[in-house]
Chain length 165, copies 2
């Protein structure tokens, strides 16, 4: 089956918009337009189009997990017993809905999932694994790695040139 691209590419202007918004998602449309030398209406039009095309999917609130009572983060590797779609999907759906789960990676290879979780303390971490992960009979084994720190990378976009005003 041929992969159908709804739009071949982003043009240069789109890239600049995405770059600037990625660097500061809270930029007002007005400020963005000015930096790009566009009319505000044009800028708003392009941004809306980027959202409609799904290039910009939305925004996420970055929270201080420690301040919210979950200072302990961990990466939990989950290996399954069986790998049929039914089991995998049910577990997947269950995990993403479990409180404390920040993100779930479904990966290729012998290990099936990596869970990024945030919990209150060591006891909560133990309970998380026992009550929400290994409780699923399809889970063969888990391996928990304490996270010292997590940093965001630069992502896939080149840094936009700094504003001149």
């Amino acid at each position: 089956m041929k992969k159908r691209e709804q739009r071949p590419l982003l043009d240069e202007l789109d890239r600049r918009i995405v770059g600037l918004l990625a660097a500061d998602p809270e930029l007002t449309n007005k400020a963005l337009a000015r930096r790009l030398g566009l009319a505000e209406s044009t800028c708003a039009y392009r941004v809306r189009a980027l959202r409609e095309r799904g290039v910009v999917e939305g925004t996420t609130l970055r929270l201080d997990l420690a301040a919210l009572g979950h200072p302990l983060q961990a990466l939990i590797k989950v290996r399954l017993e069986r790998h049929n779609a039914e089991h995998v999907n049910r577990l997947y759906a269950s995990l993403v809905k479990t409180p404390g789960v920040i993100q779930v990676f479904h990966v290729a290879g012998a290990d099936d999932f990596y869970l990024h979780v945030a919990v209150a303390d060591a006891e909560a971490l133990r309970d998380f694994v026992l009550l929400h992960v290994t409780v699923h009979r399809v889970v063969r084994q888990t391996e928990t790695h304490l996270i010292f720190e997590r940093r965001e990378g630069v992502g896939v976009l080149p840094a936009p040139d700094p504003a001149t005003d």
Copy 2:
């Protein structure tokens, strides 16, 4: 010695604000105020306070990495040769600035880092590992896991009750 907390806790109102904003970071202050039954100025005041206290750290733009030309994601486990602070910190700083890196986890145990990266194709992935990871002499070995899919979890907050209007 008594542990000094900079602020004891979030009150109930703070929690509701954070919950609603986490569910939809693009809520206008006006809509947020209305849902909470607050005056707009009060609501804006509380939100600003949450940001100043660092509870709300900011927002992140969610992008379609595939649409940006990086459809392939991977989780790369990095194990170091030596673990002194100097080496670890230099590598850490280098990794987060490498194009294609979405996030870096610094973890406890024998494996030191997990890199979440997004690249254009298999060749770019190989080049990434060779040119940006194993090029550092302190890196002993890496293990690359292809990511089938990544989902966001519910996080640490209970789902706010749906709007009634």
